[in-house]
Amino acid sequence: MSISMQSRRKAAIWPLAIAVALSAAALIALLSIDDQITLGVTLGVIAAGCVLAARFGAVAATEAAGADHPFVLRVLVVLAAIAVLIGLRNDNFGLLMVTTVLIYATVCIGLTIQMGYAGLFNFAGAAFLGIGGYTAALLGPKGVPDLLLLALGGFAAVVVGSLLLLPVLRTRGHYAALATLAFSILFNVFLDANDIFGGPQGLKLQGMVLFGWDFTNDITIAGYTISSYANYAILAGLLTAAAMMLTGFIDRSWIGVWLDAVRLDEVAASVFGLKIGRWKIAAFTIGNFFAGVMGALYAKMTGFIAPSNFTFGDSLTMVSIVILGGIGNRWGVLPAALIVVLLPEKLQFIQEYRFLLFSILVIIILVAWPDGLIARRLRKLEFARR
């Protein structure tokens, strides 16, 4: 009975190629269309396409192809990113929104490690984003190079986050949710009350300068000009890709298994030898680091930060992204971030009614798709012998 080494057929590549191409096209369309009717039609087509794709197994085929051909996936993503850049080359706002989506998505990848893998509730995502932003705003004028600033933003988030380690480690479930929720609120009140950090008026920042390249310059390649906002989009894209890959490795490694075990059954996990605290600290730290780095980038990009950018409501937005994307699925945060960040912006035309509509939409999604847009798939640590 030699069933063990049966070699599984690798999934076909083409669904992946089509999916990436369509996503890039949809993204460009969504961002550049401003006319309400066309936008409505486009949204309808995209939504219908997604539902049909899910119904006929295209999503699963895409995921399988992505898992089987990581290299192809990476190449396709790079190509798609270039296509998006070309498509939006003169659209400052589109590029700004893409960057914002990428920043939110990356923070949410960090939250996925915390909430989706290790099961640590974190209702202070925006606060950790803010810590990174404030680090950049305070240290930038002191002459710290910008690249170091991003890293310091991450470290600052980790250091401040470590103050919360004790409550996070000792409590579970809703009690842990309260610890981060309370932190999120007190962070905001503290910034408002405090004058050293600019108070409620906030702080201004200089734009990013990386290796002598000023991010306010337009990019000119072979006579073609791409808006300067593309600088931030590219940097954010690289960071997102790095976070995505790192998280993918975490998921497809023992660490991923241990984090899942910690989330699913602390007692069993500890009985079999896991140090629960150690893995919770690891997850919390990595997630906060992501948020801090992206916060520094966010501050650099908007050129201005104020306490009202990092409220409990914003943390809630991030949690919505994680859950809507399909908790624990790192790919899910991309479309979810796109929806959650872009939709209110695209709903500008209904003005004061947009939050009402947005909240109703989130509730509908929660009731209709409790597993989120892309449900987390089973981890298969099955590697063919080389």
Binding site: T100, Q201, G202, K204, A306, S308, Q348, Q351, F355
Partner: protein
């Protein structure tokens, strides 16, 4: 509650918006060249009444302008919600500034948002006229040719207020300000001018704008026993403060600023408690403005559901000014910027507008108000000025 009416309203809303979209599409066609301008303010959140009142007023200005057959252009107002948040403001302004079809903007109620976005206006060379944000830094922290403001800055209100209180013999104050940039800035200038007048500030309290219970602060204030409680903040908190003062049996003169100016304050505390509240605001009452009657009539005729609020006329004026400038200079950002720089004694419904070299309107007339019988009355016209009624604790009334 009336579910039927709600669902009807929703249905009507849906139908109207659908129609509007179709109409916008099909209307294209003839005659005048279309020119787009953008209005930005808070359409959601607790400060949205001001944003919505401003939007209505700006819409009104556009409507009136378009109904005039002599104009060269057909104006179209694009409305954006900045949520009173700097990051959202940056997003929205980037969007507007990148849209080359928009030639000018009338942005922002909230100062922090305006401070965050002035750089973007400058960078994209998009001319703008601020309709309501009041922090001095917006125009004076830098010198950008694109930035203009018709609303006053909050320094004047506090200078006039401090002078007024001194003249009436008040010597001891307590300041309660909300913890936003607006409140902190108010408190800063209040403190500066009050101390310059050699008066005493017995205590300073900063409270979050969403705080409900102020009894702890007020108990402390009761101990301090000031003659005047100064409030720097917006109506919801101001109304709470005034109401709870009464409940704790505190008798002190209540002094406010532009943030509580408007009927909402009187509605929220009731005419009895509002009576005698004094306030300093950078505008004469609508009725006393050169075009006040015209504005009020038109606003009512347009049938808006929400009141224009205190800064509605400013939004109207800013929008009108932008359109008049476009008529003169043409729909081109650089030309509009240049033309706005020359604005001097341009008549408007509030008062003639003159921009200084920072684009700041220097003509706003700080006016003193007092609540009398459930209405804001200009101090000089009130029974308080004649001595028929008296302010609380007033030594020289």
């Amino acid at each position: 509650m009336d579910l039927m009416r709600w669902s009807k309203r929703l249905a009507i809303l849906a139908a109207v918006s659908a129609f509007a979209m179709v109409a916008l599409e099909s209307e294209q066609a003839f005659a005048k060249e279309k020119v787009k301008i953008a209005f930005v303010g808070p359409m959601t959140g607790s400060i949205s009444p001001h944003g919505i009142g401003g939007r209505n007023s700006a819409e009104l200005a556009v409507k009136i302008m378009n109904s005039d057959p002599k104009t060269k252009y057909e104006y179209q107002l694009e409305v954006f919600d900045d949520e009173c948040k700097p990051n959202v403001g940056v997003q929205v302004i980037t969007k507007i500034a990148s849209d080359r079809s928009i030639v000018a903007a009338i942005p922002h109620y909230c100062s922090a948002t305006a401070i965050a976005t002035v750089d973007i206006f400058h960078r994209f060379k998009l001319p703008m006229v601020i309709w309501a944000a009041v922090l001095p830094e917006i125009t004076y922290a830098q010198k950008y040719p694109e930035i203009h403001r018709v609303s006053g800055i909050l320094i004047g209100q506090n200078r006039v207020g401090a002078q007024f209180m001194k003249e009436h013999g008040y010597t001891t104050f307590v300041s309660v300000a909300d913890s936003t940039d607006y409140g902190k800035s108010m408190n800063k200038y209040f403190t500066q001018f009050t101390l310059e007048n050699n008066n005493k500030i017995l205590g300073t309290f900063s409270v979050p704008p969403d705080q409900q219970d102020l009894s702890a602060e007020l108990t402390k204030i009761k101990e301090l026993n000031p003659q005047v409680i100064y409030f720097g903040g917006l109506t919801p908190l101001g109304a709470r403060l005034r109401t709870q003062m009464e409940k704790l049996g505190i008798t002190a003169q209540f002094e406010g600023n532009s943030g509580i100016m408007g009927d909402n304050y009187i509605n929220a505390v009731g005419p009895k408690l509002a009576e005698g509240t004094v306030t300093f605001f950078d505008s004469p009452p609508i009725a006393k403005m050169p075009g006040g009657k015209f504005f009020t009539e038109q606003y009512q005729a347009a049938g808006y559901r929400e009141p224009p609020e205190a800064y509605g006329p400013f939004a109207y004026v800013a929008t009108r000014l932008v359109m008049e400038t476009i008529e003169k200079a043409g729909p081109d950002r650089a030309k509009i910027t240049a033309a706005l720089g020359d604005v001097k004694d341009v008549p408007s419904i509030i008062a003639p507008i003159t921009f200084d070299d920072h684009g700041q309107n220097i003509t706003p007339l700080t006016t003193k108000y007092v609540v009398q019988d459930g209405k804001w009355v200009v101090w000089e016209d009130s029974e308080y000025a004649t001595g028929k009624r008296k302010l609380v604790n007033c030594p020289h009334c």
